[in-house]
């Protein structure tokens, strides 16, 4: 339906010739730069700077809630509170394999996701878990409530005497 005019095309680009205006090059490189900027900005945008998740510090309530010699699971905080004669400790209930919450079974713990087993001190007995369960820092606040800080892992032997 149409026929291109045979007249000489003034645009060298269309002739397959490398002779292009420097302005054209500025534009093309600009497009590339804008693309790079867009990619960088997108990653920057997507990196959340604000968290509405649960706080790292968790109030477990008064010490009396935890009887000596028992291991008590505290929902929400995701820790087992272990109290014995020497003091009280908070052991993570988060499996070191892929983050499921372990269950108390017998004297030890078992992960429902991939079957990792831990003994009562959190050491791996079997399964894919690479590390023993973590222990977190415990403190007492002004009202003598236990506060666990999930951001501060401590040595498993560290105990809070507690009052």
């Amino acid at each position: 339906m149409s026929v291109e005019t045979p007249q000489q095309d003034p645009n060298p680009a269309r002739q397959g010739s490398p002779r292009r205006s420097w302005l054209w090059k500025v534009g093309v490189y600009g497009l590339g730069a804008a693309f790079v900027q867009a990619v960088w900005s997108t990653f920057r945008f997507a990196r959340a700077t604000v968290s509405y998740g649960p706080p790292k510090k968790f109030n477990l309530g008064p010490l009396e809630r935890f009887a000596p010699g028992l291991t008590t699971f505290v929902e929400g905080a995701g820790v087992f509170v272990k109290r014995d004669e020497q003091g009280v400790r908070a052991m993570s209930a988060v499996c070191t394999h892929l983050g499921c919450t372990v269950r108390s079974e017998g004297s030890g713990f078992v992960c429902p996701c991939h079957g990792s087993r831990y003994d009562e001190e959190g050491h791996v007995v079997s399964g894919p878990a690479p590390d023993p369960l973590a222990f977190y820092e415990l403190k007492q606040d002004g009202k003598r409530h236990l506060v666990v800080d999930l951001a501060r892992p401590v040595d498993p032997k560290t105990r809070l005497r507690g009052t």
Partner: protein, 409 residues
Amino acid sequence: MSKLLRDIRDSFFRTPWPADERTKVKAMIESLVLHVHAPKVRPASLKFRATWAAGLVSAVLLALLTLTGVYLMFYYFPYPDVAYRSMKDLAFVVPFGKITRNLHRWAAHAMVAMVTIHMVRVFLTGGYKPPREANWVAGVGLWVLTLGLSFTGYLLPWDQLAFWAVTVGANMVGSIPGVGGYFRLLLLGDASVGESALLRFYVLHCVVLPLAIFGILGFHIFRVRRDGGLVTSEHAPEESAPEKAIESAAEKAEGKPATAAVAKPKPVAKPKKLISAWPHLLYREVIVTMVTTAAMLALSLWLDAPLEPQADPTRTPNPAKAPWYFLGVQELAHYSAFWGGVFIPAAIIAGLCAVPYFDRHLGGIGRTFPRERLAACTSFMALMTFLAVVTVIGTYFRGPGWAFMYWPH
């Protein structure tokens, strides 16, 4: 370049970088993205005065809105009060949050303006005449959808403007005799604007209306190509003879017989006048895209999108004003909720859709405001002026209690 890389490139791009007329046409046809264009276009349709670039700018704005809209969805929670906190988070803690929201807001305003300008241009150049009637109707639909996206979008910040403008808007729908209450319930999902309304508006704004607008836009652009490109004076009959049967190039190409009812388009294309879309059209499109983007960026960097206090159902701001593009309707609604807020807008939309089926002679098409179409263009501009006037009154001359006064806020 190794053979493997070349093979990979060739598997995606069937044609090499176009160098001659054959490959240029082939590139335009083979590429998914480019084939929405005709491979050859009329030089006249590339002129700014022929198109005002309004349609393309609208499309670029839509792309920008889609992009920024998707970005905003990552940080937006469609729940009352939390939604407002999302706005504050965008302003204070989300990287690029403020500019993303600004871009989305200003591009939305600009798109309403540009789509309207595009409609004016198409009317003045007679772009709705046969065989482009359906595309005009589609265009009117896109205009309505653009307004609908704006309407659903401005509830989402959950600020005072959002809450009260949507309350007013929903009550306009509710004023339709008989079925108003039902439609209002459909829209809000509840008796008043609340969490259901916010969720519904969110889904409409982010899923339903965008799908609709992209679907219709696909049809719209497809029809531009199928109807023989943009309307130019070359599509007009040579002498002023509207009754003379003409035949469109498109119909001829498809071998469709012209019906008696449709004015028969005459073969218009003068072959020597066609030039390839690659690069003439594409280059201009890239430039318009970049200019539009730059303008929106500049606006968004130095002008923050307005935000009002958090929605408070117990306190109606006075005056409670919608964004500027709805103030014309609000002004009309102030006289009567149903007649001004529903009937007249619906009548205008219906009237616009009906125009191409009654105004069919082809004299003067392709030229802006031609002498042959003085009556049509004048009446259309009168309608547009009326809308502009009520909009200006609603924007600048209505104060507390919707009283007539100078109110430049």
